[in-house]
């Protein structure tokens, strides 16, 4: 069960030809295909487990719920949201419910490798038919579908996309030090950081806790290996001891030498604040950081600028939430109604407008979205797509945890050889 892009491409092609779940090798015979659902929905309760219980996510979910009621009046939406979702009971409960054959009708998961655990345990069903009914590769970027495909099947419907490889910068600080508005590659970026340091900016780059460091590291990997080399790392052929990885580790070490001192448990907004108040020039953070600038009444393009991490121009380092169809769901028809709504242009627009992310579909008009989201939507359409490590698209949770450990260790020791060794060991232990 490997999420190998090369294999996946072949299967994805087959998939679009066959078009229906019955054609896919391990797809089950679903009682009601999304295409043949009666108007107004399959009826009955549809229990949906999410961790969208707070803030903008909650608002987004409410928007979806409203839309769901309008489109599928026969169905009754049952909100099983659990805040955070990181809680062990929430996870244990979900795991136990899945094991005991008492699953919700649909549950949320990070799209990509994080779903592997469920696929391995044979707890979720392919949703190829739903994806196809929604328009398949004509509305979702093909390489996104490839990344979601495991052994020829797609197991979740992506609801929203975030971008991880964004540098947020303070233009005033850059101007003062004569640094370029957007460095071309990591080396040029490092040179700019030196300029900034010479101009009196003690810590040109701001970082937060361990996961923000892992996210920074993944963008450096993309910059130094290119999308294909990077994606290859997560396959059985991936070589974490290669010269490319070593180069990225060296770059990463140098970047950290320009960074502030953080602790493992630090939040990300503190790091973003450093850019806002001019203590730092750059912060690499997912595009949810827009909210932090907005909170502090900062203006896009005036008080802050953003660009892809140098060397990753034309690459969209993505993370996504997605919804699944658990095996043994009591109301698979209703679940498919929900999945169809999640994947529909209206659903994607309503949710993403509220949450501040962008639709996974490329055919949703960007007119109503704010400035940053417009640019992100344009990039998503044209860029190559790479999966995020820190946010579960590229690696399983266990692998993610091992890499986080290595990054936490490295942050203190700055020992490059050990980091490479640890990365190799993590891959050996977790790659499938």
């Amino acid at each position: 069960m490997r999420a190998q892009p090369l294999v996946a491409v072949a299967f994805a092609a087959a998939l679009t030809l066959v078009g229906c779940s019955s054609g896919a090798p391990t797809a089950s015979q679903s009682p009601s295909a999304a295409t043949s659902a009666p108007a107004g929905g399959a009826g009955g309760d549809v229990g949906v487990f999410t961790w969208w219980a707070d803030g903008s996510e909650k608002v987004g979910l409410e928007a979806l719920e409203k839309l769901f009621k309008e489109k599928y009046p026969n169905d009754t939406f049952v909100n099983l949201a659990v805040a955070g979702g990181a809680g062990s009971n929430a996870k244990a409960k979900l795991a136990a419910d899945l094991q005991n054959g008492n699953p919700p009708d649909s549950f949320q998961g990070h799209a990509g490798a994080e779903l592997q655990d469920y696929i391995r345990a044979d707890q979720i069903e392919p949703v190829n038919d739903v994806i196809d009914a929604l328009g398949g590769a004509s509305v979702f970027p093909k390489n996104l579908l490839d990344l979601l495909t495991v052994q020829g099947n797609i197991y979740s419907v992506p609801s929203n996309i975030h971008r991880a490889n964004v540098v947020w910068a303070n233009p005033d600080v850059l101007k003062k030090a004569g640094a370029s508005a957007e460095p071309a590659d990591i080396d040029a970026w490092l040179a700019d950081m030196q300029k900034l340091k010479d101009a009196g900016v003690a810590t040109p780059l701001s970082v937060g806790g361990t996961w923000t460091q892992l996210q920074l590291f993944e963008t450096v990997l993309i910059a130094d290996l290119g999308v294909d080399g990077y994606t290859q790392l997560f396959t059985a052929q991936g070589d974490w001891g290669s010269g490319g990885v070593k180069k990225a580790v060296a770059h990463y070490a140098k970047l950290l030498s320009y960074a502030n001192t953080a602790s493992d448990g630090d939040d990300w907004p503190g790091a973003t604040d450093a850019v806002i108040n001019g203590k730092a020039a750059y912060n690499v953070m997912g595009d949810w950081a827009v909210a932090q600038f907005t909170l502090k009444n900062k203006k896009d393009g005036v008080d802050y600028t953003y660009f892809p991490v140098p060397g990753t121009k034309g690459v969209f380092d993505f993370l996504a939430d997605s919804f699944t169809l658990p095996k043994g769901a009591k109301n698979p028809g209703g679940a498919k109604d929900w999945l169809s709504l999640i994947g529909s242009p209206e659903g994607q627009k309503a949710f993403n407008l509220a949450k501040g992310s962008i639709p996974a579909r490329t055919d949703v008009p960007s007119d109503d979205f704010p400035a940053y989201q417009k640019t992100a939507m344009a990039s998503f359409k044209s860029d190559k797509i790479a999966p995020s490590i820190a946010h579960g698209a590229a690696v399983s949770q266990a692998w993610n945890s091992d890499m986080s450990t290595a990054i936490s260790k490295f942050y203190r020791s700055k020992d490059q050889a050990t980091l490479v060794t640890d990365l190799v060991a993590a891959a050996k232990k977790n790659a499938v």
């Binding site: 069960m1 990181a86 062990s88 996870k91 655990d117 391995r120 345990a121 003690a202 810590t203 806790g209 361990t210 996961w211 502030n260 001192t261 953080a262 602790s263 493992d264 448990g265 630090d266 203590k279 949770q397 266990a398 993610n400 945890s401 986080s404 450990t405 290595a406 936490s408 260790k409 942050y411 203190r412 020791s413 499938v432």
Partner: protein, 302 residues
């Protein structure tokens, strides 16, 4: 039959508790040990993830990461116990001698105990920020700068030293010193004034009074306090979880590592072995203590 009638009802009355404690303490410990000995395989690759039996424990104890966590726990425990005992005793001695505003001081010292580790951790995460220097420093480091004492700045628990966990003990010391103070205070107050007066009449200095009259009498309190602190430190999870996050190698102790094993790594077998090791460490200290107190109690009665 006559005997049974005397103790039968007593046993009957306690039996619900015996059953509950039997199941929830001993039964579950047994199940946990059983879980820890399982052989597990990866569902897909069929790779053996836990070889099963004692080998599970040998693997765990041989793992660098676990040894690092055990070392962190040792540092944390020693500093926490010494620090808490020191402050607790010092405050108790200072208060015991009678002072203006004693009640207020006592309440202030005790107040951190009313706050849960989770709540306190939120504040301490920020206070123990490792950044230093006028540009960066926040938290305690920034306070030291403001007070003109820059040499006090530290990287705290994030420092690249094997003893970094000593700093993680600070919030724990903050939280529990008041408790230890209260224990000692109660111990001191239990000693009659006559003994002090007698010692003073004999011409003992204040130091001699404490050294030879008062301290020996609170030593049982000190022993209980040490046991309490020791076993609290073994299971300390909340504090580290809320200060360092769930995935910090730097601040990892067996209790937080267990969380990693259980959830991100989906390895309940390894987690159960880890939990058994924590239990064993506690038992090594606590069982002799229980036997000892049991004996002294019996001697006391005889």
């Amino acid at each position: 039959m006559r005997r049974l009638r005397t103790w039968g009802p007593g046993l009957l009355l306690v039996s619900p508790s015996i059953i509950l404690v039997g199941i929830f303490v001993y039964g579950l410990i047994g199940l946990n040990v059983q879980t820890s000995l399982a052989e597990t395989r990866d569902r897909i690759t069929n790779r053996i993830t836990n070889p099963g039996g004692v080998a599970n424990y040998l693997n765990l104890l041989g793992d660098d990461r676990y040894q690092h966590a055990l070392w962190n726990l040792l540092v944390l425990t020693v500093v926490f116990m010494v620090g808490t005992m020191l402050f607790g005793l010092l405050w108790a001695v200072l208060l015991e001698r009678g002072v203006t505003g004693e009640g207020a001081f006592r309440s202030i010292y005790l107040f951190p105990m009313a706050i849960s580790f989770v709540a306190a951790g939120v504040a301490w995460r920020w206070l123990l920020s490792p950044a230093q220097g006028p540009d960066q420093a926040i938290g305690l480091n920034q306070l030291f700068l403001k007070l003109g004492m820059p040499w006090l700045q530290s990287s705290w628990w994030s420092s690249d030293s094997s003893f970094n966990m000593a700093a993680m003990a600070i919030p724990a010391i903050w939280q529990l010193s008041g408790y230890i103070m209260a224990l000692f205070l109660a111990g001191f107050r239990g000693i009659s004034d006559d003994q002090r007066e007698a010692a003073r009449v004999d011409g003992a200095s204040e130091w001699q009074l404490y050294r030879y009259v008062l301290f020996p009498q609170v030593s049982p309190v000190a022993l209980s306090a040490l046991i309490i602190l020791g076993h609290m430190s073994m299971k300390m999870f909340d504090l580290i979880y809320s200060i360092a996050g769930a995935n910090s190698y730097t601040a990892e102790v067996p209790a937080t590592f267990m969380w990693i094993q259980l959830f991100p790594q989906s390895n309940p077998t390894g987690a159960a072995a880890n939990a058994t090791v924590i239990l064993a460490i506690v038992a090594i200290v606590v069982i002799p203590y229980l036997i000892y107190t049991n004996h002294t109690e019996k001697d006391g009665r005889a």
